[in-house]
Subunit: 240 residues, 2 copies
């Protein structure tokens, strides 16, 4: 893996007991300062109300001392990302987000810029899914057919955001999250899956990968193995 990648991958923007992004405030601020970022481009493509969505994020992050602008307000999205020092890719529908990123030619631009260390990447939920190897372990409904499930690949494994180990309700016969992830693990092409609980996030700093936030994660491996990790755990081995 590259030694210069800078990314912060949140399970979600909302976490029980906190206002929007509040649980991640310190990590986001540290991450942006460390990367000398004062202007942050927000990518609202996972939802349809670009202005409304950007305004909500701006309202939270601007008071922290950064300036948020929506990628949709630039005449050319590819140029804007090429000139950016940092982007925040918000949550919503992963299929819609990945389709739009491919449509605008942004997947390869983001991959290349993050890889060479010239773009700091923050993702949340769908924005975290598209930052991984593939979107095979999104929770979202496949509302649009993307050109591939392969994603940006900032990390070489998959993430399941909003990870939860409870069933929807005891009378409901739909599958549990673990059953769904284990179906993926049975596939020949399956990569390891990190189930990020709400409130958890991954901090990618070159060859270092740290689990941060107010909740932990569960690693699913081939053969049915499952390993629990608490926040503040070094999980850099996942980059190898």
């Amino acid at each position: 893996m590259s030694t210069c990648r800078q990314a912060l991958l949140l399970s979600s923007s909302n976490c029980h007991g906190y206002t929007l992004l509040e649980f991640a405030k310190q990590e986001i601020c540290n991450f942006l300062k460390k990367n000398n970022v004062s202007e942050l481009i927000f990518v609202p493509y996972a939802q349809n109300d670009f202005n409304g969505y950007t305004a909500k994020i701006k309202e939270v992050i601007d008071p922290w001392g950064f300036t948020v602008t929506g990628l949709h307000t630039y005449p050319d999205a590819a140029n804007a990302v090429n000139s950016a020092k940092a982007i925040f890719v918000g949550g919503g529908n992963t299929f819609l987000l990945l389709s739009r990123l491919y449509e605008k030619g942004l997947v390869s631009i983001i991959r290349k810029k993050v890889d060479e260390g010239s773009l700091a990447y923050i993702g949340s939920s769908a924005g975290t899914n598209v930052a991984t190897k593939s979107i095979h372990t999104t929770n979202d409904m496949p509302i649009i057919y993307p050109p591939t499930f392969d994603a940006i690949g900032i990390v070489p494994f998959n993430i399941n955001p909003h990870y939860i180990d409870k069933v929807e309700n005891e009378k409901h016969k739909g599958e549990t999250r673990d059953q769904r992830i284990n179906e993926y693990m049975e596939m020949e092409h399956a990569a390891p899956v990190l189930g990020l609980r709400e409130g958890a996030m991954l901090q990618v700093d070159g060859a270092s990968l740290m689990l941060k936030g107010v909740a932990g994660a569960v690693l699913f491996k081939k053969g049915g193995c499952k390993e629990q990790f608490q926040a503040e755990t070094d999980v850099s081995f996942l980059l190898n």
Copy 2:
């Protein structure tokens, strides 16, 4: 729509308070008898343990007076379906199921035979998703990339099986089922979506479409409209 299609589309095989398929016994028996079927081919492709899955279904349905065999036991799946009078496509992962149906050339064969009235189709969960216009409203994880999300199209709308209108739990910030379906409804290509509660099923009899079973359904339409239907409701208008 064709006037000869025969199909029974179950939300799920399991329903709280019933053993496997028990809630649907009368409907399945009537459906098979009406179509002069004594031998039923079970399609286990949505799961990986073909023998085990087929055995579970056979154990339930054989005592009802029919003979279940697994499609995987035939030397040529396309030939077997071409010679069959009825198939039962079981649940599991919709993406895996659709991928395998395309891989074996079965989508067009099933579509043609059901259309001309020479194949009676029973589906459950993933087996119901693939019978509709597309798999855009499956609940399943996209564990494999299918050649398209377009499906067999026995009905010209989408179904959301295992429909439930409650959130997973109040502290969890993941989307509700309604939010997910409404994201689809915002797409330009969206068809109407029928959310089939567990225990509900659709009976396709030519130009007639009846809601059957021990639970109802919810119809999602463009513009945020939502309409509730009880079992034993005639919903033939959905075929127009």
